[in-house]
C-alpha cells in the first residue's frame, strides 16, 4: 500500500520523511560507530581537547604508537585488567540464566495457559506486580540474608536470583505463546494415553520452539544487561562484564586509561550486535506479542 501511495506524496513530505529517517539512523547508530572507531585510538585522540578531527585521523595515536590504529585499549582491558575472566563469568551466568529460566518458564507457562482456574489468574497478576519491582529494591533484601547464609559473592547465587527476577516476564511471555497453541493438541495426546507431562514434552514442546527461542532471547538479554544484581551480589573475582566495566570507571579513570573502559564497552557490545543481526525477526515478534512485555 505504501508503495502505491509513494508517488502521490508531495515532494516536501518525502523530503521530511527521508530526512527524519536519516536523522534517526544517525542518532541510533553513530554513537556505536564512533565508539568502535575511537576504541582503536589513544586517549589523547578519542578524548581530544583540541579537535575531534584528531580522533578521525589519529594524530596522537600515530605519534604515540606509530600507526593510526592501536589495540592497546583492548590489550589493557583483556590482558592487564583480566577482562577475559569477566567475559567468562558472563558466559556462564547468561547461559545458565537462560536455560533455567526457560525450563521453569515453559513448565509454569504451560500450566498457567491450560488451567482456567482463579489461582492461575492470581499467579499471573502477582507476576505482573513482581515484574514491576525495581531490581535494586529486591537486591537490598537479599544482601543481609545472603551474608548470613554465606552464599554471597558466588556465581550460582546470582544465577538463581536472575532466574527468579526473570520469571514473571518469562511466565507471561510463554503463557501467551502457549495460549496460541490449540488445546485439542495435548488433549488428544492424553486421550491416546499420554500423561500430562508426556503430552507437554512430546506434543506441545516440539511446536513451541519459536516461542521458546524468542523468550530465550529476552532471558539472555536480562542476564547479559543486568547491572544492579551482579554489581551487588558478586565478589570482585566473580564479576561479570557489566559490573567489571563500572569498576574500570572508578580505578582506571584516575590512572588516565579510560581507553581500557572504552575497549571493554565495545567488547561487551559486539555480542549484542551479533544477536540483533541474527535474531532481529524474533526480537521484533517478541516485542510485539501483545501484552507480553508487561
Amino acid at each position: 500500500m505504501s508503495e502505491t501511495l509513494a508517488h502521490k506524496r508531495p515532494a516536501g513530505l518525502n523530503v521530511l520523511i527521508y530526512g527524519f529517517i536519516v536523522f534517526w539512523v544517525i542518532l541510533a547508530a553513530f554513537p556505536f560507530l564512533w565508539t568502535v572507531w575511537g576504541s582503536f585510538k589513544v586517549e589523547a585522540d578519542f578524548f581530544s581537547r583540541e579537535s575531534w578531527w584528531n580522533a578521525l585521523f589519529g594524530t596522537n595515536t600515530i605519534r604515540q604508537t606509530g600507526a593510526a590504529f592501536t589495540g592497546d585499549g583492548y590489550y589493557g582491558a583483556w590482558v592487564t585488567r583480566d577482562f577475559w575472566r569477566a567475559a567468562g563469568n558472563t558466559i556462564v551466568v547468561t547461559l545458565f540464566v537462560t536455560i533455567i529460566s526457560l525450563t521453569f518458564g515453559t513448565l509454569g507457562g504451560y500450566a498457567l495457559a491450560r488451567s482456567g482456574r482463579n489461582y492461575a489468574f492470581w499467579i499471573l497478576i502477582a507476576a505482573l506486580i513482581f515484574r514491576a519491582m525495581p531490581h535494586i529494591t529486591l537486591v537490598s533484601g537479599y544482601l543481609l540474608p545472603f551474608f548470613q547464609l554465606n552464599i554471597w559473592g558466588v556465581l550460582p547465587t546470582s544465577i538463581i536470583v536472575l532466574v527468579a527476577i526473570n520469571q514473571p516476564f518469562t511466565l507471561w511471555m510463554l503463557h501467551s505463546f502457549f495460549l496460541s497453541i490449540p488445546k485439542d493438541l495435548d488433549e488428544s495426546a492424553m486421550v491416546d494415553g499420554c500423561t500430562r507431562f508426556q503430552a507437554f514434552r512430546l506434543v506441545i514442546m516440539p511446536v513451541m520452539w519459536p516461542g521458546v527461542v524468542t523468550t530465550g532471547l529476552f532471558s539472555f538479554l536480562l542476564g547479559y544487561n543486568d547491572f544492579a544484581v551482579t554489581a551487588m551480589l558478586l565478589s570482585a573475582d566473580n564479576q561479570t562484564m557489566v559490573p567489571k566495566i563500572s569498576s574500570f570507571l572508578g580505578s582506571v579513570q584516575e590512572a588516565g586509561n579510560v581507553m581500557y573502559a572504552v575497549a571493554a564497552v565495545v567488547s561487551a557490545t559486539v555480542p549484542l550486535f551479533i544477536l540483533v543481526l541474527f535474531f532481529q525477526r524474533q526480537i521484533v515478534s517478541g516485542l510485539t506479542a501483545g501484552a507480553v512485555k508487561g
Binding site: 505504501s2 508503495e3 509513494a6 506524496r9 520523511i17 527524519f20 529517517i21 534517526w24 547508530a29 554513537p31 556505536f32 565508539t35 578524548f47 581530544s48 581537547r49 525450563t103 521453569f104 513448565l107 509454569g108 491450560r114 499467579i123 497478576i125 505482573l128 506486580i129 515484574r131 514491576a132 525495581p134 535494586i136 529494591t137 529486591l138 537486591v139 537490598s140 533484601g141 537479599y142 544482601l143 543481609l144 538463581i160 527468579a164 527476577i165 520469571q167 514473571p168 511466565l171 500430562r196 547479559y224 544487561n225 547491572f227 544492579a228 551487588m232 557489566v242 566495566i245 563500572s246 572504552v262 557490545t269 549484542l272 540483533v276 543481526l277 532481529q280 510485539t288 501483545g290 508487561g294
Partner: protein, 343 residues
C-alpha cells in the same frame, strides 16, 4: 487441569518467585525498621567561610563490629528511619514551608533533601521520557512505514540497537561523547563559545543529557510496537477516509491514532514501569552530584564502606509503594475485567 498437576508444573517457578521476590520484599520491610547499632561517635565541627558551621558525626566502626556480628539487623528503630532527613524528612519539610523565600527557594531546598532529590528526578524522568520516547517511536514508525520495502530491514536493525544495548554501556557511550573532551561536548562548547559548559558543572545540562539518553534508549520499543500496529490498520477504513476527503494529517489523527490507542496504553505502562527504576544512566553519566534516582539512592546505601541496610530498606519500601501507585490503574482495571468474566 487437576490441582496437583497444575502445582507440579508451576512449582519450580513459584518457589523461585516466592524465595527471591516475595521474601526479599518482606526482608526489606523488616530491615527498614532497624538501624545499625549505636556506635562510638566522634563529633567533628566543619566550618566554611560563608556557609556557617555544621557538626558532623563520624563513626568508629571497629568498636561495634562485635555487637554487629551478634545482631546483624541492628537495633529496632520503628518508623524512625522513614522520617529522618535522608528519607521523608517531614521536620525539614515543615521548616522549609515556614521559612522560605518564595517558590524558587522551596525548590532548591527540597532538592537538597536526598530522598526528594531522587524522587523528583525519577518522576521527571518517568513522565518526560515516556511521552517523548513514544512520540519519537510513533514518528519513526510512520516514516519507516512510508519507505520502500528493501530499506526497512536495515533501518529496523539500527533502530533496535539503542534499546537492546546494556543500559550502563549505552549511557557510557553517550556520556563519553557528551563529555567536554568528547565529540559532542566539545562541539556544544564551541557552538555556545563557552569553555566552562560541561555536564559535570551544570545540573540543567546533566538532566537534559539523562533525559535525552532515556528518549534515545526507549524510543525504539515504541517504534517496534507502533510499527507492528500500523500493519494492522484496516486498509478499508483508510481508503474510505481518503474518499471522504480526509487529508494525510486527518487520516493519522482520526484513523491511525485511535487504532493504535490500546497499544499506546500498553507501551506507556511498560515504559513507565521501566523508567521508574532508572538507575544505570546515573552511574554511567557519573551524574550523582546533579541528579539521583530512587534506585540509585538504594544502590548508594548498599555500596558504601558501611552498608546502611536500614536506610536502603526504607527507600526500597517507599519505592515499592511508588510502583504500586503507578500500577494501581492497571490492577483496578484487570480486577474489574476479571470480575466481569466471573459474573
Amino acid at each position: 487441569m487437576p490441582h496437583k498437576t497444575f502445582f507440579a508444573f508451576v512449582m519450580p517457578s513459584l518457589i523461585a518467585m516466592v524465595l527471591f521476590i516475595a521474601l526479599p520484599i518482606v526482608s526489606v520491610v523488616v530491615q527498614s525498621l532497624y538501624v545499625a547499632h549505636d556506635r562510638v561517635m566522634v563529633q567533628v565541627e566543619n566550618c566554611q567561610p560563608f556557609g556557617g558551621c555544621s557538626t558532623e558525626l563520624r563513626v568508629d566502626a571497629a568498636a561495634t563490629a562485635e555487637l554487629q556480628a551478634e545482631q546483624p539487623l541492628g537495633k529496632f528503630n520503628g518508623l524512625g528511619t522513614y522520617f529522618n532527613r535522608a528519607h521523608l524528612a517531614f521536620d525539614e519539610l515543615g521548616v522549609i514551608l515556614q521559612t522560605n523565600r518564595g517558590l524558587g527557594d522551596i525548590w532548591n531546598r527540597v532538592l537538597n533533601l536526598p530522598f526528594y532529590k531522587g524522587l523528583i528526578f525519577t518522576l521527571v524522568y518517568c513522565f518526560v521520557v515516556t511521552p517523548l520516547a513514544m512520540a519519537l517511536g510513533f514518528g519513526i514508525a510512520l516514516a519507516v512505514n512510508a519507505l520502500p520495502k528493501v530499506t526497512k530491514g536495515p533501518i529496523i536493525f539500527f533502530s533496535l540497537l539503542p534499546m537492546i544495548i546494556t543500559p550502563l554501556v549505552g549511557s557510557l557511550i553517550l556520556y563519553w561523547m557528551l563529555s567536554p573532551n568528547g565529540i559532542l561536548g566539545a562541539t556544544i562548547q564551541h557552538l555556545f563559545n563557552d569553555p566552562t559548559l560541561s555536564l559535570r558543572a551544570s545540573p540543567g545540562l546533566t538532566w537534559i543529557a539523562l533525559l535525552l539518553y532515556g528518549v534515545w534508549t526507549n524510543g525504539p520499543f515504541s517504534f517496534v510496537v507502533f510499527y507492528a500496529g500500523l500493519q494492522t490498520v484496516p486498509a478499508d477504513t483508510l481508503e474510505s477516509a481518503m474518499i471522504d476527503g480526509a487529508s494525510r494529517w486527518e487520516r493519522i489523527r482520526y484513523v491511525i491514532v485511535p487504532h493504535l490507542m490500546p497499544l499506546a496504553t500498553f507501551v506507556a505502562l511498560v515504559q513507565l514501569m521501566d523508567n521508574f527504576r532508572v538507575f544505570e544512566p546515573i552511574v554511567g553519566f557519573s551524574a550523582e552530584a546533579n541528579a539521583t534516582s530512587l534506585s540509585w539512592l538504594i544502590f548508594n546505601d548498599l555500596s558504601g564502606d558501611t552498608q546502611q541496610f536500614g536506610s536502603a530498606g526504607a527507600t526500597s519500601v517507599l519505592t515499592i509503594i511508588g510502583v504500586v501507585i503507578l500500577l494501581s490503574p492497571v490492577l483496578v482495571r484487570t480486577w474489574r475485567e476479571f470480575k466481569l468474566k466471573v459474573v
